[in-house]
Protein backbone atom coordinates (compact mmCIF):
# COMPACT_ATOMS: atom_id res chain seq x y z
CA UNK A 1 0.00 0.00 0.00
CA UNK A 2 1.61 3.31 -0.98
CA UNK A 3 1.44 5.96 1.69
CA UNK A 4 -0.71 9.05 1.18
CA UNK A 5 2.43 11.11 0.58
CA UNK A 6 3.75 8.70 -2.00
CA UNK A 7 0.47 8.85 -3.90
CA UNK A 8 0.39 12.64 -3.95
CA UNK A 9 4.05 12.68 -4.91
CA UNK A 10 2.95 10.63 -7.85
CA UNK A 11 0.38 13.13 -9.10
CA UNK A 12 2.70 16.04 -8.46
CA UNK A 13 5.47 14.53 -10.49
CA UNK A 14 3.41 12.73 -13.08
CA UNK A 15 4.05 13.69 -16.66
CA UNK A 16 1.67 16.31 -17.98
CA UNK A 17 1.04 18.09 -14.68
CA UNK A 18 2.23 21.59 -13.89
CA UNK A 19 2.76 20.24 -10.37
CA UNK A 20 2.37 22.37 -7.26
CA UNK A 21 1.19 25.89 -7.93
CA UNK A 22 0.64 28.89 -5.74
CA UNK A 23 -2.00 31.56 -6.28
CA UNK A 24 -0.81 35.15 -6.50
CA UNK A 25 -2.80 38.27 -5.82
CA UNK A 26 -2.57 41.89 -6.82
CA UNK A 27 -4.60 44.91 -5.83
CA UNK A 28 -5.12 47.33 -8.70
CA UNK A 29 -5.56 50.96 -7.78
CA UNK A 30 -8.73 52.54 -9.13
CA UNK A 31 -10.71 54.28 -10.17
CA UNK A 32 -12.00 51.37 -12.22
CA UNK A 33 -15.09 52.37 -14.13
CA UNK A 34 -17.66 49.63 -14.72
CA UNK A 35 -20.12 49.19 -17.57
CA UNK A 36 -23.00 49.93 -15.17
CA UNK A 37 -21.56 53.39 -14.52
CA UNK A 38 -20.31 52.76 -11.01
CA UNK A 39 -16.65 53.00 -10.05
CA UNK A 40 -14.49 50.71 -7.89
CA UNK A 41 -11.85 52.60 -5.89
CA UNK A 42 -9.62 49.53 -6.11
CA UNK A 43 -9.95 45.83 -6.71
CA UNK A 44 -7.98 42.65 -6.13
CA UNK A 45 -7.48 39.81 -8.57
CA UNK A 46 -6.23 36.37 -7.62
CA UNK A 47 -4.41 34.52 -10.36
CA UNK A 48 -2.08 31.63 -11.12
CA UNK A 49 0.57 31.29 -13.79
CA UNK A 50 2.03 28.17 -15.35
CA UNK A 51 5.08 27.94 -17.60
CA UNK A 52 7.65 30.65 -18.30
CA UNK A 53 7.15 34.00 -19.94
CA UNK A 54 9.62 34.29 -22.84
CA UNK A 55 12.02 37.16 -23.30
CA UNK A 56 9.78 39.29 -25.50
CA UNK A 57 6.68 38.34 -23.49
CA UNK A 58 4.86 37.01 -26.53
CA UNK A 59 3.88 33.55 -25.31
CA UNK A 60 1.20 34.51 -22.79
CA UNK A 61 -2.09 32.63 -22.89
CA UNK A 62 -5.02 33.97 -20.90
CA UNK A 63 -7.59 31.50 -19.59
CA UNK A 64 -11.05 33.02 -19.05
CA UNK A 65 -13.20 30.98 -16.73
CA UNK A 66 -16.86 30.05 -16.97
CA UNK A 67 -19.71 30.52 -14.51
CA UNK A 68 -18.30 28.59 -11.57
CA UNK A 69 -14.61 28.62 -12.49
CA UNK A 70 -11.69 30.36 -10.83
CA UNK A 71 -7.94 30.94 -10.98
CA UNK A 72 -6.98 27.37 -10.13
CA UNK A 73 -7.06 25.93 -13.64
CA UNK A 74 -4.20 23.44 -13.45
CA UNK A 75 -1.89 21.64 -11.04
CA UNK A 76 -2.25 21.16 -7.30
CA UNK A 77 -2.19 23.50 -4.35
CA UNK A 78 -0.80 20.95 -1.93
CA UNK A 79 0.56 17.46 -1.78
CA UNK A 80 -2.69 16.30 -0.26
CA UNK A 81 -4.97 17.79 -2.96
CA UNK A 82 -7.22 15.09 -4.31
CA UNK A 83 -8.12 16.91 -7.49
CA UNK A 84 -6.16 19.21 -9.78
CA UNK A 85 -7.34 22.55 -11.20
CA UNK A 86 -10.56 22.64 -13.24
CA UNK A 87 -8.91 22.50 -16.70
CA UNK A 88 -5.92 20.36 -15.81
CA UNK A 89 -6.75 18.00 -18.62
CA UNK A 90 -5.98 20.69 -21.18
CA UNK A 91 -3.23 22.73 -19.47
CA UNK A 92 0.21 21.30 -18.69
CA UNK A 93 3.44 20.06 -20.24
CA UNK A 94 2.62 18.29 -23.51
CA UNK A 95 -1.09 19.12 -23.22
CA UNK A 96 -3.06 21.23 -25.74
CA UNK A 97 -2.18 24.41 -23.85
CA UNK A 98 1.41 23.34 -23.46
CA UNK A 99 3.14 24.95 -20.49
CA UNK A 100 6.51 24.03 -22.00
CA UNK A 101 5.69 26.55 -24.73
CA UNK A 102 3.24 28.99 -23.21
CA UNK A 103 3.04 31.19 -20.15
CA UNK A 104 -0.47 30.50 -18.99
CA UNK A 105 -2.39 32.99 -16.85
CA UNK A 106 -5.63 31.98 -15.12
CA UNK A 107 -7.48 34.32 -12.82
CA UNK A 108 -10.53 34.51 -10.64
CA UNK A 109 -12.73 37.12 -12.27
CA UNK A 110 -13.77 40.30 -10.59
CA UNK A 111 -17.00 39.55 -8.71
CA UNK A 112 -15.84 36.01 -8.05
CA UNK A 113 -15.66 34.29 -4.70
CA UNK A 114 -12.26 32.65 -4.71
CA UNK A 115 -10.18 35.58 -3.56
CA UNK A 116 -10.81 38.30 -6.13
CA UNK A 117 -12.92 41.29 -5.11
CA UNK A 118 -16.57 40.30 -5.14
CA UNK A 119 -19.84 40.39 -3.23
CA UNK A 120 -18.30 38.47 -0.32
CA UNK A 121 -15.44 41.00 0.03
CA UNK A 122 -15.58 43.87 2.48
CA UNK A 123 -16.98 47.08 1.04
CA UNK A 124 -14.47 49.74 2.13
CA UNK A 125 -17.26 52.32 2.33
CA UNK A 126 -19.25 50.40 4.94
CA UNK A 127 -16.76 48.02 6.48
CA UNK A 128 -19.28 45.23 5.85
CA UNK A 129 -19.48 42.62 3.09
CA UNK A 130 -20.67 44.08 -0.20
CA UNK A 131 -23.40 41.46 -0.55
CA UNK A 132 -26.18 42.65 -2.88
CA UNK A 133 -24.62 46.13 -3.07
CA UNK A 134 -21.75 44.86 -5.19
CA UNK A 135 -22.09 46.45 -8.62
CA UNK A 136 -23.48 44.27 -11.42
CA UNK A 137 -20.74 43.31 -13.85
CA UNK A 138 -20.60 42.57 -17.54
CA UNK A 139 -18.17 40.51 -19.58
CA UNK A 140 -16.44 43.71 -20.72
CA UNK A 141 -15.66 44.64 -17.09
CA UNK A 142 -13.85 41.33 -16.77
CA UNK A 143 -12.02 41.94 -20.03
CA UNK A 144 -10.88 45.40 -18.92
CA UNK A 145 -9.67 44.06 -15.57
CA UNK A 146 -7.89 41.21 -17.35
CA UNK A 147 -6.17 43.81 -19.53
CA UNK A 148 -4.89 45.49 -16.36
CA UNK A 149 -3.56 42.12 -15.24
CA UNK A 150 -1.82 41.78 -18.62
CA UNK A 151 -0.25 45.22 -18.08
CA UNK A 152 0.94 44.12 -14.65
CA UNK A 153 2.61 41.04 -16.15
CA UNK A 154 4.12 43.11 -18.98
CA UNK A 155 2.12 41.26 -21.63
CA UNK A 156 1.31 43.67 -24.43
CA UNK A 157 -0.22 40.97 -26.65
CA UNK A 158 -1.52 37.52 -25.70
CA UNK A 159 -0.54 34.64 -27.94
CA UNK A 160 -4.10 33.50 -27.29
CA UNK A 161 -7.09 34.30 -25.14
CA UNK A 162 -8.95 31.08 -24.43
CA UNK A 163 -12.29 30.34 -22.83
CA UNK A 164 -15.17 27.91 -22.73
CA UNK A 165 -18.83 28.87 -22.27
CA UNK A 166 -18.94 32.23 -20.43
CA UNK A 167 -15.15 32.22 -20.80
CA UNK A 168 -15.60 32.08 -24.58
CA UNK A 169 -17.76 35.19 -24.38
CA UNK A 170 -14.92 37.02 -22.62
CA UNK A 171 -12.46 35.80 -25.25
CA UNK A 172 -14.70 37.14 -28.04
CA UNK A 173 -15.12 40.45 -26.20
CA UNK A 174 -11.32 40.68 -25.97
CA UNK A 175 -11.11 40.45 -29.75
CA UNK A 176 -13.34 43.52 -30.09
CA UNK A 177 -12.23 45.63 -27.10
CA UNK A 178 -8.47 45.06 -27.53
CA UNK A 179 -8.06 43.83 -31.12
CA UNK A 180 -4.30 44.41 -31.10
CA UNK A 181 -3.71 42.65 -27.82
CA UNK A 182 -4.34 39.05 -28.89
CA UNK A 183 -3.10 36.96 -31.79
CA UNK A 184 -5.62 34.15 -31.36
CA UNK A 185 -9.01 33.76 -29.81
CA UNK A 186 -10.14 30.27 -28.78
CA UNK A 187 -13.87 30.04 -28.15
CA UNK A 188 -15.18 26.70 -26.92
CA UNK A 189 -18.84 25.74 -26.47
CA UNK A 190 -19.92 29.37 -26.40
CA UNK A 191 -22.41 31.74 -28.03
CA UNK A 192 -22.71 35.37 -29.11
CA UNK A 193 -25.71 35.69 -26.79
CA UNK A 194 -27.93 33.51 -24.67
CA UNK A 195 -31.24 32.18 -25.92
CA UNK A 196 -34.51 32.84 -24.08
CA UNK A 197 -34.37 29.28 -22.79
CA UNK A 198 -30.90 29.87 -21.39
CA UNK A 199 -32.03 33.04 -19.62
CA UNK A 200 -35.04 31.12 -18.29
CA UNK A 201 -32.78 28.51 -16.71
CA UNK A 202 -30.62 31.22 -15.17
CA UNK A 203 -33.66 33.01 -13.77
CA UNK A 204 -34.97 29.79 -12.23
CA UNK A 205 -31.59 29.24 -10.62
CA UNK A 206 -31.57 32.79 -9.24
CA UNK A 207 -35.10 32.38 -7.92
CA UNK A 208 -34.02 29.21 -6.12
CA UNK A 209 -31.34 31.24 -4.33
CA UNK A 210 -33.33 34.37 -3.56
CA UNK A 211 -36.37 32.44 -2.31
CA UNK A 212 -34.29 30.56 0.27
CA UNK A 213 -35.28 32.08 3.70
CA UNK A 214 -31.57 32.24 4.55
CA UNK A 215 -30.90 34.54 1.60
CA UNK A 216 -31.84 37.57 3.76
CA UNK A 217 -32.04 39.88 0.73
CA UNK A 218 -28.47 38.99 -0.08
CA UNK A 219 -27.14 40.06 3.35
CA UNK A 220 -26.71 36.51 4.58
CA UNK A 221 -23.06 37.07 5.59
CA UNK A 222 -24.07 39.89 7.92
CA UNK A 223 -26.83 37.64 9.26
CA UNK A 224 -24.21 34.94 9.70
CA UNK A 225 -26.16 32.46 7.62
CA UNK A 226 -26.04 31.04 4.08
CA UNK A 227 -28.80 30.13 1.59
CA UNK A 228 -27.15 26.79 1.02
CA UNK A 229 -30.28 25.01 0.02
CA UNK A 230 -31.22 27.59 -2.60
CA UNK A 231 -27.73 27.60 -4.07
CA UNK A 232 -27.71 23.80 -4.16
CA UNK A 233 -30.98 23.78 -6.11
CA UNK A 234 -29.60 26.45 -8.46
CA UNK A 235 -26.57 24.28 -9.08
CA UNK A 236 -28.73 21.21 -9.64
CA UNK A 237 -30.75 23.05 -12.29
CA UNK A 238 -27.55 24.24 -13.94
CA UNK A 239 -26.00 20.82 -13.78
CA UNK A 240 -28.92 19.16 -15.56
CA UNK A 241 -28.54 21.62 -18.40
CA UNK A 242 -24.79 20.98 -18.64
CA UNK A 243 -25.37 17.28 -19.26
CA UNK A 244 -27.28 15.65 -22.06
CA UNK A 245 -30.36 13.45 -21.80
CA UNK A 246 -28.33 10.69 -23.36
CA UNK A 247 -25.35 11.23 -21.08
CA UNK A 248 -27.47 11.15 -17.92
CA UNK A 249 -29.31 8.11 -19.23
CA UNK A 250 -26.08 6.26 -19.95
CA UNK A 251 -24.57 7.18 -16.60
CA UNK A 252 -27.56 6.51 -14.34
CA UNK A 253 -30.49 5.11 -16.31
CA UNK A 254 -33.19 4.27 -13.77
CA UNK A 255 -30.76 2.64 -11.38
CA UNK A 256 -31.85 2.75 -7.77
CA UNK A 257 -29.66 3.81 -4.92
CA UNK A 258 -32.09 2.58 -2.30
CA UNK A 259 -35.63 1.23 -1.91
CA UNK A 260 -37.62 -1.17 -4.00
CA UNK A 261 -40.52 -1.12 -6.45
CA UNK A 262 -41.96 -4.24 -4.82
CA UNK A 263 -45.70 -3.96 -4.16
CA UNK A 264 -46.71 -3.95 -0.54
CA UNK A 265 -43.59 -2.01 0.44
CA UNK A 266 -44.18 1.66 1.25
CA UNK A 267 -40.59 2.87 1.47
CA UNK A 268 -39.83 5.40 -1.30
CA UNK A 269 -37.16 4.60 -3.81
CA UNK A 270 -34.21 6.83 -4.47
CA UNK A 271 -32.82 6.89 -7.98
CA UNK A 272 -29.05 7.15 -8.47
CA UNK A 273 -29.51 10.37 -10.45
CA UNK A 274 -31.27 11.98 -7.46
CA UNK A 275 -28.40 11.30 -5.12
CA UNK A 276 -25.86 12.36 -7.74
CA UNK A 277 -27.57 15.71 -8.28
CA UNK A 278 -27.93 16.32 -4.55
CA UNK A 279 -24.26 15.59 -4.08
CA UNK A 280 -23.39 18.06 -6.86
CA UNK A 281 -25.63 20.71 -5.31
CA UNK A 282 -24.39 20.20 -1.76
CA UNK A 283 -20.71 20.18 -2.55
CA UNK A 284 -21.09 23.30 -4.70
CA UNK A 285 -23.13 25.24 -2.14
CA UNK A 286 -20.42 24.75 0.45
CA UNK A 287 -17.79 26.41 -1.72
CA UNK A 288 -19.47 29.13 -3.73
CA UNK A 289 -20.94 32.50 -2.85
CA UNK A 290 -24.65 32.82 -3.75
CA UNK A 291 -24.36 36.51 -4.65
CA UNK A 292 -21.51 35.68 -7.01
CA UNK A 293 -23.71 33.03 -8.63
CA UNK A 294 -26.41 35.64 -9.19
CA UNK A 295 -23.86 38.15 -10.50
CA UNK A 296 -22.29 35.65 -12.93
CA UNK A 297 -25.60 34.40 -14.33
CA UNK A 298 -26.74 38.00 -14.86
CA UNK A 299 -23.52 38.77 -16.74
CA UNK A 300 -24.27 35.76 -18.92
CA UNK A 301 -27.81 36.99 -19.60
CA UNK A 302 -26.60 40.50 -20.45
CA UNK A 303 -23.94 39.38 -22.88
CA UNK A 304 -24.73 40.19 -26.49
CA UNK A 305 -21.60 40.44 -28.59
CA UNK A 306 -23.10 42.55 -31.37
CA UNK A 307 -25.47 44.79 -29.38
CA UNK A 308 -23.42 47.92 -29.85
CA UNK A 309 -22.58 47.06 -33.46
CA UNK A 310 -26.16 47.51 -34.72
CA UNK A 311 -26.89 43.90 -33.72
CA UNK A 312 -24.76 42.85 -36.65
CA UNK A 313 -22.19 40.16 -35.72
CA UNK A 314 -20.37 40.67 -39.03
CA UNK A 315 -19.94 44.35 -38.25
CA UNK A 316 -18.79 43.44 -34.74
CA UNK A 317 -16.18 40.93 -35.88
CA UNK A 318 -14.90 43.24 -38.61
CA UNK A 319 -13.09 44.97 -35.71
CA UNK A 320 -11.23 41.78 -34.79
CA UNK A 321 -7.61 41.34 -35.89
CA UNK A 322 -6.91 37.91 -34.45
CA UNK A 323 -7.53 34.41 -35.73
CA UNK A 324 -10.22 32.20 -34.21
CA UNK A 325 -10.60 28.60 -33.21
CA UNK A 326 -14.16 27.52 -32.40
CA UNK A 327 -15.17 24.18 -30.96
CA UNK A 328 -18.63 22.90 -30.12
CA UNK A 329 -19.98 19.55 -28.94
CA UNK A 330 -22.79 17.65 -30.62
CA UNK A 331 -24.83 16.89 -27.48
CA UNK A 332 -24.44 20.37 -25.94
CA UNK A 333 -27.93 21.85 -25.89
CA UNK A 334 -27.09 24.74 -23.55
CA UNK A 335 -24.56 26.20 -26.00
CA UNK A 336 -25.55 24.18 -29.03
CA UNK A 337 -23.33 23.73 -32.11
CA UNK A 338 -25.73 26.04 -33.95
CA UNK A 339 -24.52 28.94 -31.74
CA UNK A 340 -20.89 28.23 -32.70
CA UNK A 341 -21.86 27.98 -36.35
CA UNK A 342 -23.34 31.47 -36.09
CA UNK A 343 -20.00 32.71 -34.81
CA UNK A 344 -18.17 30.94 -37.65
CA UNK A 345 -20.54 32.42 -40.24
CA UNK A 346 -20.12 35.93 -38.89
CA UNK A 347 -16.33 35.57 -38.84
CA UNK A 348 -16.21 34.26 -42.42
CA UNK A 349 -18.37 37.13 -43.64
CA UNK A 350 -16.16 39.56 -41.73
CA UNK A 351 -13.12 38.07 -43.50
CA UNK A 352 -11.56 36.93 -40.22
CA UNK A 353 -9.62 33.64 -40.22
CA UNK A 354 -11.59 30.95 -38.40
CA UNK A 355 -11.37 27.23 -37.84
CA UNK A 356 -14.40 25.43 -36.51
CA UNK A 357 -14.73 21.84 -35.31
CA UNK A 358 -17.97 20.22 -34.21
CA UNK A 359 -16.85 17.46 -31.88
CA UNK A 360 -18.90 14.31 -31.35
CA UNK A 361 -19.54 13.88 -27.62
CA UNK A 362 -22.36 12.52 -25.44
CA UNK A 363 -21.27 14.70 -22.50
CA UNK A 364 -23.34 17.82 -23.18
CA UNK A 365 -21.98 21.26 -22.31
CA UNK A 366 -19.60 19.74 -19.75
CA UNK A 367 -17.70 18.15 -22.64
CA UNK A 368 -15.46 21.22 -22.86
CA UNK A 369 -13.91 20.26 -19.52
CA UNK A 370 -13.65 16.52 -20.13
CA UNK A 371 -11.25 14.23 -21.99
CA UNK A 372 -12.18 13.75 -25.66
CA UNK A 373 -9.73 12.49 -28.23
CA UNK A 374 -10.80 14.61 -31.16
CA UNK A 375 -11.19 17.79 -29.10
CA UNK A 376 -7.69 17.29 -27.70
CA UNK A 377 -6.20 16.69 -31.15
CA UNK A 378 -7.78 19.73 -32.78
CA UNK A 379 -7.01 21.98 -29.81
CA UNK A 380 -3.40 20.72 -29.59
CA UNK A 381 -2.77 21.12 -33.33
CA UNK A 382 -4.15 24.65 -33.32
CA UNK A 383 -2.18 25.71 -30.23
CA UNK A 384 0.94 24.11 -31.66
CA UNK A 385 0.68 26.47 -34.64
CA UNK A 386 0.15 29.39 -32.27
CA UNK A 387 3.37 28.40 -30.47
CA UNK A 388 5.12 28.14 -33.84
CA UNK A 389 4.04 31.67 -34.78
CA UNK A 390 5.27 33.05 -31.49
CA UNK A 391 8.62 31.27 -31.90
CA UNK A 392 8.99 32.50 -35.47
CA UNK A 393 8.35 36.03 -34.25
CA UNK A 394 11.08 35.70 -31.63
CA UNK A 395 13.68 34.49 -34.11
CA UNK A 396 12.99 37.35 -36.53
Amino acid sequence: MPSETAKSQHHRLSAGSVGLVEPKRHTFPGPFKLACGRVLDEYTLVYETYGTLNADKSNGVLICHALSGHHHAAGYHSESDKRPGWWDHYIGPGKPIDTDKFYVVALNNLGGCHGSTGPASINPASGKPWGPDFPPLRARDWVHSQAQLADLLGIEQWAAVVGGSLGGMQAMRWSLEYPQRLRHCVVIASAMKLSAQNIAFNETARQAITSDPDFCDGRYLEANTLPRHGLAVARMIGHITYLSDDGLGKKFGRELRSGTFQQGVEELVEFQVQSYLRYQGDSFSGSFDPNTYILMTRALDYFDLAREYDDDPVKAFSHACCKFLLVSFTSDWRFAPERSREIADALMHANVPVTYAEVESPMGHDAFLLPNERYEKVFAAYMNNVAGEVRAEVSV
Partner: protein, 197 residues
Protein backbone atom coordinates in the same frame (compact mmCIF):
# COMPACT_ATOMS: atom_id res chain seq x y z
CA UNK B 1 -5.87 16.41 -56.92
CA UNK B 2 -2.84 16.47 -59.17
CA UNK B 3 -0.28 19.24 -59.45
CA UNK B 4 -1.66 20.14 -62.86
CA UNK B 5 -5.17 20.61 -61.48
CA UNK B 6 -3.78 22.81 -58.71
CA UNK B 7 -1.73 24.86 -61.16
CA UNK B 8 -4.73 25.55 -63.36
CA UNK B 9 -7.01 26.50 -60.47
CA UNK B 10 -4.35 28.72 -58.90
CA UNK B 11 -4.01 30.44 -62.29
CA UNK B 12 -7.68 31.39 -62.38
CA UNK B 13 -7.94 32.72 -58.84
CA UNK B 14 -7.29 36.45 -58.48
CA UNK B 15 -4.63 37.58 -55.98
CA UNK B 16 -5.94 38.73 -52.59
CA UNK B 17 -9.45 37.53 -53.42
CA UNK B 18 -11.92 35.73 -51.16
CA UNK B 19 -12.16 32.01 -51.85
CA UNK B 20 -14.46 29.32 -50.49
CA UNK B 21 -13.44 25.70 -51.10
CA UNK B 22 -16.32 23.23 -50.80
CA UNK B 23 -15.09 19.88 -49.53
CA UNK B 24 -11.54 21.16 -49.08
CA UNK B 25 -10.08 17.79 -48.01
CA UNK B 26 -6.67 18.11 -46.40
CA UNK B 27 -6.41 21.77 -47.39
CA UNK B 28 -3.80 21.30 -50.13
CA UNK B 29 -5.43 23.76 -52.54
CA UNK B 30 -5.99 26.34 -49.80
CA UNK B 31 -2.34 26.22 -48.71
CA UNK B 32 -1.32 26.69 -52.33
CA UNK B 33 -3.70 29.60 -52.89
CA UNK B 34 -2.63 31.29 -49.67
CA UNK B 35 1.07 30.99 -50.57
CA UNK B 36 0.81 31.91 -54.25
CA UNK B 37 -2.10 34.31 -54.31
CA UNK B 38 -2.38 35.66 -50.78
CA UNK B 39 -6.09 34.91 -50.82
CA UNK B 40 -8.28 34.90 -47.73
CA UNK B 41 -9.80 31.50 -48.03
CA UNK B 42 -11.97 29.11 -46.07
CA UNK B 43 -12.48 25.43 -46.60
CA UNK B 44 -15.67 23.59 -45.74
CA UNK B 45 -15.20 19.95 -44.78
CA UNK B 46 -17.15 17.27 -42.94
CA UNK B 47 -14.52 14.56 -42.38
CA UNK B 48 -12.83 14.96 -38.95
CA UNK B 49 -9.56 13.43 -40.18
CA UNK B 50 -9.34 15.86 -43.09
CA UNK B 51 -10.24 18.75 -40.78
CA UNK B 52 -7.42 17.71 -38.46
CA UNK B 53 -4.97 17.85 -41.37
CA UNK B 54 -6.22 21.32 -42.27
CA UNK B 55 -5.79 22.50 -38.68
CA UNK B 56 -2.26 21.10 -38.61
CA UNK B 57 -1.48 23.01 -41.80
CA UNK B 58 -2.94 26.20 -40.39
CA UNK B 59 -5.74 26.35 -42.96
CA UNK B 60 -9.02 28.05 -42.03
CA UNK B 61 -11.40 25.12 -42.13
CA UNK B 62 -15.02 25.13 -41.02
CA UNK B 63 -16.87 21.93 -40.28
CA UNK B 64 -20.00 21.96 -42.41
CA UNK B 65 -22.18 19.36 -44.04
CA UNK B 66 -22.57 20.42 -47.67
CA UNK B 67 -25.70 18.27 -48.02
CA UNK B 68 -27.42 20.94 -45.95
CA UNK B 69 -26.58 23.60 -48.51
CA UNK B 70 -24.89 26.98 -48.33
CA UNK B 71 -27.81 28.92 -46.86
CA UNK B 72 -25.49 30.35 -44.19
CA UNK B 73 -23.59 32.30 -46.86
CA UNK B 74 -24.98 35.54 -48.19
CA UNK B 75 -25.21 36.40 -51.88
CA UNK B 76 -21.95 37.21 -53.63
CA UNK B 77 -19.97 37.03 -50.39
CA UNK B 78 -16.98 35.37 -52.09
CA UNK B 79 -15.03 36.08 -55.25
CA UNK B 80 -14.57 32.43 -56.15
CA UNK B 81 -16.23 29.26 -54.88
CA UNK B 82 -14.26 26.11 -55.69
CA UNK B 83 -15.39 22.50 -55.73
CA UNK B 84 -12.95 19.80 -56.78
CA UNK B 85 -13.90 16.24 -57.73
CA UNK B 86 -17.24 16.30 -55.93
CA UNK B 87 -19.78 17.23 -58.62
CA UNK B 88 -20.43 13.60 -59.46
CA UNK B 89 -21.18 12.75 -55.83
CA UNK B 90 -24.02 15.25 -55.44
CA UNK B 91 -27.72 14.47 -55.42
CA UNK B 92 -28.56 17.62 -57.39
CA UNK B 93 -25.37 18.85 -59.06
CA UNK B 94 -27.12 21.62 -61.01
CA UNK B 95 -28.63 23.12 -57.84
CA UNK B 96 -25.26 23.10 -56.13
CA UNK B 97 -23.68 24.97 -59.03
CA UNK B 98 -26.53 27.51 -58.86
CA UNK B 99 -25.76 27.94 -55.14
CA UNK B 100 -22.04 28.33 -55.85
CA UNK B 101 -22.83 31.11 -58.31
CA UNK B 102 -25.13 32.77 -55.79
CA UNK B 103 -22.45 32.79 -53.05
CA UNK B 104 -19.53 33.55 -55.36
CA UNK B 105 -19.09 35.82 -58.36
CA UNK B 106 -17.31 32.96 -60.08
CA UNK B 107 -16.88 29.28 -59.47
CA UNK B 108 -14.32 26.66 -60.38
CA UNK B 109 -15.42 23.06 -60.69
CA UNK B 110 -13.43 19.94 -61.44
CA UNK B 111 -14.85 16.50 -62.20
CA UNK B 112 -13.73 13.22 -63.78
CA UNK B 113 -14.69 12.89 -67.44
CA UNK B 114 -16.89 9.85 -67.96
CA UNK B 115 -16.46 10.24 -71.70
CA UNK B 116 -12.73 9.51 -71.49
CA UNK B 117 -11.75 6.69 -73.84
CA UNK B 118 -10.86 4.22 -71.10
CA UNK B 119 -14.31 4.55 -69.54
CA UNK B 120 -15.94 4.20 -72.97
CA UNK B 121 -13.76 1.24 -73.83
CA UNK B 122 -14.58 -0.46 -70.55
CA UNK B 123 -18.33 -0.03 -70.90
CA UNK B 124 -18.37 -0.86 -74.63
CA UNK B 125 -16.29 -4.01 -74.53
CA UNK B 126 -16.73 -5.46 -71.05
CA UNK B 127 -20.32 -4.29 -70.81
CA UNK B 128 -19.70 -3.26 -67.21
CA UNK B 129 -19.37 0.07 -65.42
CA UNK B 130 -15.77 1.25 -65.46
CA UNK B 131 -13.60 0.66 -62.40
CA UNK B 132 -10.15 2.23 -62.59
CA UNK B 133 -7.60 4.19 -60.58
CA UNK B 134 -9.55 7.32 -61.26
CA UNK B 135 -12.94 5.71 -60.67
CA UNK B 136 -12.12 3.04 -58.12
CA UNK B 137 -15.64 2.17 -56.93
CA UNK B 138 -18.12 -0.56 -57.86
CA UNK B 139 -21.36 0.88 -59.19
CA UNK B 140 -23.43 -0.25 -56.18
CA UNK B 141 -21.06 1.14 -53.59
CA UNK B 142 -19.84 4.47 -54.87
CA UNK B 143 -20.13 8.08 -53.82
CA UNK B 144 -20.21 8.90 -57.52
CA UNK B 145 -23.89 8.96 -58.45
CA UNK B 146 -23.91 11.57 -61.22
CA UNK B 147 -21.17 10.95 -63.72
CA UNK B 148 -21.12 13.13 -66.77
CA UNK B 149 -18.92 13.85 -69.75
CA UNK B 150 -17.49 17.21 -70.83
CA UNK B 151 -20.21 17.44 -73.45
CA UNK B 152 -22.92 16.75 -70.89
CA UNK B 153 -21.54 19.48 -68.66
CA UNK B 154 -21.38 21.98 -71.51
CA UNK B 155 -25.06 21.31 -72.21
CA UNK B 156 -25.87 21.85 -68.54
CA UNK B 157 -24.02 25.19 -68.61
CA UNK B 158 -25.83 26.29 -71.77
CA UNK B 159 -29.25 25.33 -70.41
CA UNK B 160 -28.64 27.26 -67.19
CA UNK B 161 -27.06 30.25 -68.91
CA UNK B 162 -23.80 29.87 -67.00
CA UNK B 163 -20.96 31.54 -68.81
CA UNK B 164 -17.81 29.44 -69.23
CA UNK B 165 -14.82 31.71 -68.57
CA UNK B 166 -12.23 28.97 -68.99
CA UNK B 167 -12.17 25.25 -69.57
CA UNK B 168 -9.24 22.88 -69.28
CA UNK B 169 -8.85 19.17 -69.55
CA UNK B 170 -6.10 17.33 -67.77
CA UNK B 171 -4.66 13.91 -68.44
CA UNK B 172 -2.00 12.13 -66.48
CA UNK B 173 -0.97 9.57 -69.09
CA UNK B 174 1.46 11.07 -71.64
CA UNK B 175 -0.42 9.83 -74.71
CA UNK B 176 -3.76 11.14 -73.51
CA UNK B 177 -2.09 14.39 -72.50
CA UNK B 178 -0.94 14.80 -76.10
CA UNK B 179 -4.28 13.94 -77.64
CA UNK B 180 -6.57 15.73 -75.18
CA UNK B 181 -6.30 19.03 -77.03
CA UNK B 182 -7.68 17.49 -80.21
CA UNK B 183 -10.35 15.30 -78.69
CA UNK B 184 -10.86 16.52 -75.15
CA UNK B 185 -13.98 14.51 -74.46
CA UNK B 186 -12.20 11.33 -75.53
CA UNK B 187 -8.79 11.86 -73.94
CA UNK B 188 -9.32 14.26 -71.02
CA UNK B 189 -9.41 12.58 -67.62
CA UNK B 190 -10.32 15.55 -65.50
CA UNK B 191 -12.36 18.57 -66.49
CA UNK B 192 -11.75 21.95 -64.88
CA UNK B 193 -14.34 24.65 -65.54
CA UNK B 194 -14.36 28.28 -64.56
CA UNK B 195 -17.91 29.65 -64.58
CA UNK B 196 -19.82 32.83 -63.93
CA UNK B 197 -23.33 34.01 -64.59
Amino acid sequence: MTRKDLDIIADWVAPKSRVLDLGCGDGELLVRLAQQKGVSAYGLEIDPEQIQKCVERGVSVVEQNLDKGLANFSDQSFDTVVMTQALQTLRFPHLVVEEMLRVGRECIITFPNFGQWRARWHLAFSGRMPVSDLLPYEWYDTPNIHFCTFKDFEVLCRDHHWRILHRQVVSESPVSAMLKDFLPNLFGETAIYHLTR
